[in-house]
């Protein structure tokens, strides 16, 4: 039984996910800078203000610390807030609330309080927004016990992860890569919730595992296509959930391919890519035929000009090269 398919975009899929949640549960509301009248910095919430009004599509002043903390409080008070922090770059101002309150309150109180909060934010580079607007800090968030961290890359995940995240009794952070918003494709008209645990094998292969997520997924799939043309069979793993990581899917893949490259848009040192590499080291060392490679962003504040931004970020050709390198080809 295959459902009817509709043409949609990542942005629209996210919006439908939010609309859904608002309709389904009166406790859900969206709060953040310019989510309402402006329609959202990246137009994700466009139209929702007219549909749901100012209480439930709540524009906030510029106060990331204040309104993120308010989201935590509202969650403890029985609501199901979706806090939109416009971009990860500004989330640094809210990090204290996330680390010291959202992530700790449940454990520290001996399990007395839940924080059923979802925080969404745009992340990543590629739009020539320069050094202060191009961060990929999802690895930082993935370091924090007490929260879950998601990076939907596909239309299905954009549409369905929010649902599941809102049903989770604990805080969930969702990263939306800015270069994904305009991606379009086919999605089942009745697309529903998707699990928020577990990685996905987006392409099966036998020669090596390419491990990635978020903004790098489609670059990696493209690279896998080019590799296929050269008779190299790459398996592509989309982590999807950055905390907790799905070790089983990773190790199963490495046990099959014996080689892996991790591709992420983070700065290399201290990246989540390092964590994946370290886990493969720990759990699949004897399966490896070559050291696990990493392809990350150059360790530099992202510059404005396109040629330098491109040079800083992982590109398809570099993924192909990195894959060949671990295959000694």
């Amino acid at each position: 039984m295959s459902a009817e398919m509709i043409q949609t975009s990542y942005r629209e899929a996210l919006r439908e996910g939010i609309r859904d949640a608002l309709k389904r549960d009166a406790r859900v509301f969206l709060m953040g800078e310019d989510v309402g009248r402006y329609g959202g910095c990246y137009a994700v919430s466009k139209g929702l203000y007219d549909e749901f009004g100012p209480e439930r599509i709540r524009d906030t002043p510029l106060s990331e610390c204040g309104f993120t903390g308010a989201g935590i409080g509202a969650a403890m008070g029985g609501m199901r807030p979706i806090v939109e922090i416009m971009t990860v770059n500004f989330s640094l101002l809210a990090l204290d609330q996330i680390v010291n309150n959202a992530a700790t309150l449940r454990h520290m109180s001996g399990g007395q309080f839940n924080i059923p909060l979802v925080i969404r934010m745009a992340c990543g580079a590629g739009k020539q927004l320069a050094a202060q607007h191009s961060h990929s800090l999802e690895g930082w968030y993935a370091h924090i016990p007490g929260i879950k961290v998601l990076a939907p890359a596909t239309l299905e995940d954009a549409r369905g992860m929010l649902w599941t995240a809102l049903e989770d009794p604990d805080p969930v952070v969702i990263f939306e890569h800015v270069m994904l918003y305009n991606r379009t494709g086919q999605l089942a008209a009745d697309a529903g919730p998707v699990p928020i645990e577990g990685a996905a094998v987006r392409l099966e292969g036998t020669d090596l595992s390419l491990v990635t997520y978020g903004g790098c997924l489609f670059k990696t799939l493209e690279a896998a296509g080019q590799l296929a043309a050269e008779d190299i069979s790459a398996e592509v793993i989309d982590l999807r959930c950055l905390r907790p990581l799905d070790d089983a899917t990773l190790m199963t893949s490495v046990a099959k391919t014996h080689r892996a490259v991790i591709i992420s848009e983070e700065w290399r040192s201290g990246s989540l890519a390092a964590e994946v590499s370290a886990r493969i080291m720990e759990q699949a060392f004897w399966d490896l035929d070559a050291p696990v490679g990493r392809l990350c962003t150059a360790e530099v504040p992202i510059p404005y000009p396109k040629h330098l931004e491109d040079a800083a970020l992982p590109q398809v050709s570099a993924i192909v090269d990195a894959a060949k390198a671990v295959l000694n080809r």
Binding site: A70, G73, A74, G77, N101, S109, G110, F113
Partner: protein
């Protein structure tokens, strides 16, 4: 409680029962804190310990005006709030010890008292960190149409933090039912108010947000109760947040590691003479509401309660190490 009431001038006409209740509540805090200090030197209590001695009138005065369904957000100096809010002294003391019978299962200790039953949302060790939570709790109430009040206590040191400012603005802008209570004890650790704020009249800050604010004598439990009652009534009437600045003084060191190089002994002694317990007791004696026998009776009851609390904590048990990771996430039915 119900038989107290405010006159137009904001003064309370106290009946004797309520007056003695206030005295007892303050005394319970005072004796609890003193015992904690002793237990700290005995290494029964560890970590950071911040005592409320000298500031008892504020928590006690304010709590008289809150209903059970209201909420409380406090700081790391929150034993007084916890006791006045009605948390059992036994489970509070067990928390100080880190025993699993403690109100936060022993995991929080002195700085992190939480209690779902009385809606005490901490116990927050980040200065200013509780204010946004209070805004959110109040927002939840407003959105769900509940006429609850969220009370939010913080020190004057927190006023320099951005979080204070963002929270006041949000609460005012959205007319949320938050009662902000600044416990202005004139020092943030060793930093005197004049060295942390260019405007030292803290309650004036609320004007930037059009939040009604008053400054009051934080050593006068009756004034605090009376003024809080008015503020809470205004909040319940939908007038939005209200702000109280209570001028007080901490009689002891900031924490147990503080040599108090930053203030004179004489200054401390002068404030002690204005202390909330001394003063209220004196007034009760003058008005013949309290005699020596009654005073002794209260003291000894509090002593008994405290002894029972210490015994409870002593006989408490340690959370099993196997439970270390429990509650990091909610255990979900498989």
């Amino acid at each position: 409680m119900s038989d107290t009431h405010t006159s137009a001038g904001g003064k309370l006409h106290l009946n004797r029962d309520h007056a003695l209740h206030l005295l007892r509540e303050m005394l319970r805090i005072r004796r609890f804190e003193e015992r904690c200090a002793e237990l700290y030197t005995q290494e029964k209590i560890r970590g950071f310990l911040h005592l409320y001695v000298g500031e008892e009138a504020i928590a006690v005065g304010v709590m008289q005006c809150l209903a059970p369904e209201d909420a409380v957000v406090a700081t790391y100096r929150e034993h007084g709030h916890a006791l006045a809010r009605g948390i059992d002294m036994k489970t509070l003391m067990a928390e100080m010890y880190g025993k699993q019978e403690g109100v936060s299962r022993g995991r929080g200790g002195s700085m992190h008292v939480f209690d779902a039953a009385t809606r005490l949302y901490g116990g927050n060790a980040i200065v200013g960190g509780g204010l946004p939570l209070a805004v959110g709790l109040a927002l939840a109430d407003k959105m769900q149409g509940r006429a609850r009040v969220t009370s939010c206590f913080f020190g004057e040191g927190a006023v320099a933090e951005g979080a204070f400012h963002e929270s006041l603005n949000l609460a005012a802008l959205w007319r949320l039912p938050v009662l902000f209570i600044c416990e202005n004890n004139l020092y943030a650790m060793g930093t005197a108010l004049e060295r942390s704020e260019s405007e030292t009249e803290i309650f004036h800050k609320a004007a930037s947000y059009k939040v009604p604010a008053v400054s009051l004598d934080g050593m006068d439990v009756i004034a605090i109760e009376a003024t809080t009652r008015q503020a809470v009534a205004a909040i319940r009437a939908g007038e939005g947040p209200q702000f109280l600045e209570c001028r007080t003084y901490r009689f002891r060191a900031h924490s147990m590691f503080d040599a108090q190089l930053y203030r004179d002994k004489a200054e401390v002694e002068a404030w002690k003479r204005k202390g909330p317990l001394l003063r209220f007791r004196h007034w009760l004696e003058e008005t013949h509401m309290l005699d020596a026998a009654e005073a002794e009776r209260i003291e000894s009851e509090v002593e008994d309660e405290l002894a029972a609390a210490v015994a409870f904590a002593e006989s408490g048990t340690w959370e099993p190490v196997e439970d270390l990771l429990r509650d990091v996430h909610t255990e979900q039915p498989a």
